[in-house]
Assembly symmetry: C2
Homo-oligomer: 114 residues x 2
């Protein structure tokens, strides 16, 4: 088991040292450096998380809520730093999804139809 944990820690370190991670960290610092930009982004992120929570609880998102978050997104995207941050988030998320797929791949044989 300790081999597994060692490899897990090495992977965590590789994630932390990756371009994807470092870029996002840098952009987040840039966004947080300006109070109005920071607040604008946090407002958007909060609304985004609320809708996500609703969906997780099996609740429907209303048309009005969909339009509201789309408009919020269109607005915050106008700020170049926030725009780059959202793209950097996306790239990190894609990398992490790939990582999860790779790591969980061996366990798929336990879910095979016989």
């Amino acid at each position: 088991m300790t081999v597994v944990y060692d490899q897990a820690h090495q992977l965590a370190q590789a994630v932390k040292e990756s371009n994807e991670f470092q870029t996002l960290k840098s952009l987040q610092a840039q966004v947080n450096a300006e109070e109005t930009i920071k607040r604008m982004f946090e407002n958007f992120r909060q609304k985004q998380l609320e809708l996500h929570m609703k969906q997780m609880q099996g609740q429907q998102i209303t048309e009005q809520e969909k339009q509201q978050i789309q408009q919020l997104f269109n607005t915050v995207q106008l700020n170049p730093t926030i725009s780059k941050l959202l793209e950097a988030e996306q790239r990190l998320n894609v990398m992490l999804e790939d990582v999860m797929k790779i790591v969980m791949e061996p366990t798929k044989e336990f879910y095979k139809e016989p």
Copy 2:
């Protein structure tokens, strides 16, 4: 990024070679080797997954369904091989949860309250 993917593959290999994984694999082969045991386990597993899907979709599990799965569990547990398999599953799941926590740890700073 390739460092990350290399480490991810090494971690996957470590998971595959772990006692937890090999034990579960062996017990699954033992369960599948006897048609009645296999069917009994698959029936239980199917019911378990159905209830899990319901919960994921935000639906309530009825008292009757709770009792039904509990009874099914009590019954399949009487078979020693199935009982060991369920324990082996649990141990593998715990290890994988730990692994996920370790790997995702660096990304927690992006969710910190400022």
